[in-house]
Amino acid sequence: MANYFNLQYEDTAVTSPGTVELAYGNPTSNGLTIPASIYAGSGFTPTHYKMWGVELVEGEGVVTISGAEWIAYTDLRNVRLARHNDPQYAYVKFRDTSTSGTPETDNFQSNAVTFTFVEPVIHATTEWETDFEELGFESASANILKNETYATEVEFAKTNLDQLAFSGRNFAGLRLEPDTVYINPSSEIGELIGLNDLNYVAITKVFEADEVPMITVDYGNGYETLTAYDNTVKTTLSGENDGRVDNINWDSGTRTLTFDAYKFSTYGFCTVQKVEFTNDSQTGGYIGDTGVIRVYVQDTNGEPVENAPVSISGTGDSIGSFQESMPVDTGADGFAEFNFDVSSVGQVIFDGNVDSIYYTDPDITFTGQATISGASRSLLTQYEQIYKTYDYIDTVPGVNDSAVAEPTTPTVSGLSDSVLEHDLNVLRTLMKQLKGTDDWFSSPPTVFDPENTDAGHTENNEATLSTIAGNTLDAKTIITAINDSNSGNGFSITPGDEGFLFLTTLDYSVPADRRGLPIFESTTNSGSYQDEGEQDRVVGIDLINMETGAEFRDASGDIIFAKFHDGADYSGTGNGTDVYVKFYTEAGPYATVSGTDPNSIMMVYPKRKVMIEVEEHEWIRTDFVSSWEGDEIIVGQVNDLWSYTGASDNERDPDWASVGGMPIVYNQSSLKEALDALNDEFGDTTYSGTYISDGQSITGSLDNLDSSMFALSQTVTDGIAEKHVAVAVSGIAAGTSYQLPVGVSYTPSSMGVNMDVFLDGLLLAASSGEGGANADKDYAEISPAHVAFHFDVYQYSNITFKVRK
């Protein structure tokens, strides 16, 4: 089961004695003719050999050793086996006549070859044309399966069918019927043909009639015609049918059709079924005109016949001549067209035929008419015009130019009767332009209609004028909102006002032109305005308190709004000059009240516009929600909020300023989290100490701490002394003033609390009384830089002063 094998390649001659090999060493052969390789052995150059045991010349029988003759040497030749199934051998002997004595070799015996051939299986409707024995069995290069009754032959040739072999093969897939040749594609022979696109069989069929046959094929979808009348392949073939047949030849003398079939299913044959004048063929013309006559040829398979030679002959008056030389071949559509130039008055009967075998029936009568006045308007000319509209185009160049769309002179075929054709072509072109399609007859484009679609948003509505009507940008008005603060000054209100006269040149909305201000009520011009009595969603005016920026509300909190009234009813002029803005609550008209109502308001009022007038910056009317009257205000308020909080556009996570150490607020994602963190850090203001009270504010707590720390610092400061040491350079008499070291001073006190004095390390005590006047201790503090000892101080005594204050 391996998929590989090895062969040894040798580039040196065999050193063994001579030998003869049959069939390249094959032990069996399906054919009688086989190759024989001959070798005389190393060192011997033969000029001749003789061979026996096999047939050397076909028909002369197997050569015997006694009948063998010397033959000029050749290393390879064909021999024929005897027809029996036993092992067969060839024998050979060599000689060299170029050498003295004409040496000869021994006899050499070949390998054994056994002939075997299994007769191929065929269908009952076929038989082999030649017996395989006559062809040498598998040695045959080709054989033919035929059915004599149906005069059909199919040739199987090894040169045309890759891997074709006959022995043991099954050809029963081929069936020959009276009018068909069928090979089952899934049969063994069918598969063999299908293995290679270049594989084919040659088919020959002899017909009884002279009718030219055309080849048809049926591969499951009914018969289709493959060939034209002239035995060429039809130009209209495509797909599977393209390349099915080739090398088609029709011998009309022997009525024999031959062709090569490449792809198999069922091949059949058809002939011409009918030849007829078409209904649009002209039946008359004025002298000087050209009548167009067409002939259609159809085969028995119902398809148009291509390349059929059509001739027309006439009987009757000689009234003109055809422009074409006969015959005229049909096109791929089966039509042959003729142009008959009318030269005189009379009638002629035209008869058409194909190959003088098939004839038109009925024929047509053509009438030549004398040219008459106004012929261009005659019924005949009109018929001709209609006829010429048979062919059309929808791409007329320059169609949008009056010279083309409305020509004053004939423009198409140069004949005055071509105007209708041209006009229709122009109309078709314009139709194509209007629909925006690839041609004038394609379906118009579709548009999306929310009332006629499905889950896939299918554009079901055809884009016709009726679907467009009512759906254009100016088909309906919309109500826009206009913010007016009287240039920031607001509209002044005086207590008791029921409204105010608003000066504006904007027109009132009227039925004839609904653009403008919606007027809720008019007495002077009652019934003149579109929105009289309309609901608040149309006519309502939002009022803003200029002092608070919120809605205008009364003392009870009810929203005050307004509606436009005809200015002419309120001492104004009215439409185009002014309009009255009248205040309302839900309960009805409202008069302002002193003290609670604002002195100045602004308003957002409605104005009708058509869609196409709306500017990109304009504001579609909205309702008030919690005093937010529109996006502009909301945006302003949001900006204020950003400014207030330090946030900005698209910022949702506060970006806290980076500080060192361990800040409380550094990674919180919201102000609330930050404040909570601060709360946690500051605690619940419950204290257990001395200087801060529970519930005390941070400021109060810090103030208490500050005061306490100041007092403590003072106490500490008071307890710190500066030490100064002096030596009595001479004795100091009691009661004399002694100056402290230069630059040292103190604050005298009654008890010496601001300075300590040591004498030779012994602490002295200050006398009481101002300046130590009582002299009741060791010394008196008599001045900031002097003391007076109450006893004598010896020379060289150490006097130390520790000054605290």
Partner: protein, 137 residues
């Protein structure tokens, strides 16, 4: 019984016994018919260079495939299209194909290196677009 994998892409295989699948995710399994090739006979195993030894220069190889499809006979190589293409065409199942190999075929191949043994590999592409593997046995 030909194996039919369950539908869908998420087919988990558990390998038992001695088989170790290659590493990585890109393990492609091909389910389908692999044509089995049978070498029916080789008429002679030695081919002589006809420049030095006239005759005995042709060996007839008869082989068949269990499945129909295009085939390639290559000299050398370790898989389809890796050797020198000697012959290609179409065959169908269980149909004996005869191929005559001559010394010129070997001498003309890109793998020719003088006297020696040459391996010939036959590959058939089955209906599932799978070629017979190298050294099928």
């Amino acid at each position: 019984m030909p194996y039919t994998p369950p539908s869908g892409d998420n087919v988990d295989f558990t390998f038992q016994g001695g088989y170790v699948p290659p590493a990585g995710d890109d393990v492609d399994f091909l389910f389908g018919i692999v044509a089995a090739i049978t070498i029916e006979s080789i008429s002679r195993n030695i081919i002589y260079d006809d420049q030095l030894h006239t005759g005995f220069t042709t060996s007839v190889v008869r082989w068949q495939s269990s499945a129909s499809g295009p085939y390639r006979m290559e000299i050398g190589g370790t898989g389809v299209s890796s050797g020198y293409l000697l012959q290609e065409g179409n065959t169908f199942g269980n149909f004996i194909v005869r191929t005559d190999i001559t010394d010129d075929d070997i001498e003309g191949s890109t793998t020719f290196s003088g006297a020696g043994s040459y391996q010939f590999n036959i590959y058939v592409k089955s209906a599932d677009n799978i070629w017979t593997p190298y050294n099928q046995s």
